[in-house]
């Protein structure tokens, strides 16, 4: 055993990991369905998750392990700007409240499992369905890889090195997701979320008394940024637009992802979702407090090799051995829930909107479940290989582009719930222009999320994904107006 491994911490970690692994396999018998060989059961847990299960599942799935590592890391590195995650995860809920019950109802009434299904139902267009589904899968893959990074950081903090623990953890995850489907992360989410709440509440309660109170923490962070000559505990004038537009764009994108939509579709009804929009902000409070750990890192005078180490390093300094082990376990187990739901969401899309449409249209429900189970395995193995073989930066860049891409599916998915005006062709062209134009802008800006534009009052930087969405909508409206002038456009709409 390496010298820097704390036996108590490692024992806690192994015990908790064995516990959730057991839960993952037992989950196939939890709220037991007649058969798991149906996508409604394997992929959506029977669409019967009530308010509490949905709260734990969506909370555990939306506030990912990577968030726990990366948000405090960004706050540690740049200060106030890193807090955009806070307004983002507040304004997302009024949006969820207004839109997601409508989407749920459409899905429930017609037996839809994915965003691709909903789009096909609204427009009858195989092209638009494929566009939405492919975007979902592409945007999710790097997101799964990020969960692995979160897990890697936690495992490293325990003093374990090498790739074997990560590979083992992920294989176990792949196996119980295969056998239990969405029930596994839903059950594990209870453990994961309660652990994260305990850790953050402990940190919030203990850390300030060890570091001299919140006033001292802000003062220390302020001094550190001044000494460094960059960042700050308030936004610079140039950061105001990036801050607001990143918050807004991220909020609009958040529930377009397959993993968040899976949580929505799996819930038992519109009011379940509405109640969750009221209750889920509790996690946002947690996230806001978690972000402050970045400042506590300055107050504790940490010297770090990588910003991502701020949370583990802080826990190591301030908590006793076994509780540090508990905290790292919370992060590592925290990665399992989103990774499982993401792979299920991606597998559902592949099965319903690619396999069933283009490969085997006569597939039966049990065949669908089989294809989805195997796909969920392949997706996870792919993410694991990507992390082991490619530079970490590659996953981060792709994740950034993924946010931009998934945002481009919003018009196709959401507009049709309220309007019967757009044609599928107009939405498809808008999607393509937004996706390609946005990617090109991001690429030409050196894969940064911000693009500078000048409205006449000097250049301002705005979240590129939001610009691409604006472009997407403008193009879709223009194309639709042009098509409406043509008689064959009306024909194709009616036949659709």
């Amino acid at each position: 055993m390496p010298a820097n491994v704390d036996p108590a911490a490692l024992a806690v970690f192994i015990a908790l990991f064995v516990l959730v692994t057991g839960m993952g396999f037992v989950a196939s018998r939890w709220r037991k369905p007649e058969t798991l060989a149906h996508l409604d059961e394997w992929g959506l847990g029977g669409r019967k998750f009530g308010t509490w299960i949905t709260w734990f599942l969506v909370g555990g799935d939306f506030y990912t392990a990577y968030t726990v590592i990366a948000v405090p890391a960004l706050v540690y590195a740049v200060g106030a700007y890193g807090f955009f995650a806070l307004p983002y995860t507040i304004i997302v809920y009024p949006f969820v409240f207004a839109v997601m019950p409508v989407l749920w109802k459409v899905a429930k009434d017609k037996g839809f499992v994915t965003a691709g299904d909903v789009v096909r139902g609204a427009y009858g267009s195989r092209g638009l369905e494929l566009a939405v589904a492919a975007t979902g899968v592409l945007a999710t893959m790097p997101y799964i890889a990020l969960q692995l990074i979160g897990m890697e950081v936690a495992i490293k903090a325990l003093g374990l090195h090498g790739e074997i623990p990560l590979i083992l953890a992920f294989l176990v995850l792949a196996l119980y997701t295969y056998s239990s489907g969405l029930r596994a992360p839903a059950l594990i989410a209870f453990v994961k979320d309660i652990m994260i709440y305990i850790v953050v509440i402990a940190a919030i309660a203990i850390v300030p008394s060890k570091l001299g109170g919140y006033g001292e923490i802000f003062t220390a962070a302020d001094a550190a940024f001044k000494a460094k000559g960059s960042g700050g505990i308030l936004l610079s004038p140039a950061q105001v637009f990036p801050y607001a537009s990143l918050a807004l764009g991220s909020a609009l994108a958040a529930f377009m992802y397959p993993h968040t939509l899976t949580g929505i579709f799996a819930s038992s009804g519109g009011n379940t979702i509405r109640k969750n929009a009221v209750m889920l902000p509790a996690y946002t409070l947690l996230l806001g407090l978690l972000a402050l750990l970045g400042y506590m890192g300055h107050a504790a005078g940490l010297k770090l090799a990588s910003n991502n180490d701020v949370v583990p390093a802080l826990f190591k300094v301030l908590f006793s051995g076994w509780f540090a082990g508990f905290a790292f376990s919370a992060i590592a187990i925290g990665a399992l829930v989103p990774a499982a739901v993401m792979s299920i969401g991606a597998a559902n899309l592949f099965t319903r909107n690619f396999w069933k449409v283009w490969i085997n249209p006569s597939i039966m429900p049990e065949g669908e479940a089989k294809v989805a189970k195997i796909t969920s395995m392949l997706v996870k193995v792919g993410a694991l290989l990507a992390i082991l073989l490619m530079p970490t930066q590659f996953a981060l860049d792709l994740q950034l582009l993924g946010g931009l891409w998934i945002l481009q599916t919003l018009p196709a998915l959401v507009f049709g719930l309220y309007l019967n005006w757009f044609s599928s062709r107009a939405l498809l062209i808008g999607w393509a222009v937004g996706l390609l134009g946005g990617s090109w802008l991001a690429w030409s800006d050196g894969l940064k999320p911000l693009h500078s534009i000048d409205f006449g009052a000097g250049p301002v930087a705005i979240y590129t994904g939001l610009l691409a969405l604006a472009l997407n909508i403008v193009v879709a409206v223009a194309v639709n107006l042009a098509l409406k002038g043509l008689p064959q456009a009306r024909l194709s709409r009616e036949s659709a």
Binding site: I90, P94, F97, I233, L234, L235, Y243, A247, P281, G288
Partner: protein, 58 residues
Amino acid sequence: MIRLLLLLPFIGLMIVPFYNLREPMLFGFPFFYWYQLAWVPLTSLLTYIVYRRVRDAG
């Protein structure tokens, strides 16, 4: 009409220059931080008010 309450968090949080301030402090938190944190329970409350009104609508 009651659904318009759902727009308040967007307005409150998109007006960044309004809250990008150090003072007034609260419990050692600069205004920038406690103002945004305060929107968390406030958003829950507003959403709950709307929920009470629409829950039977389906």
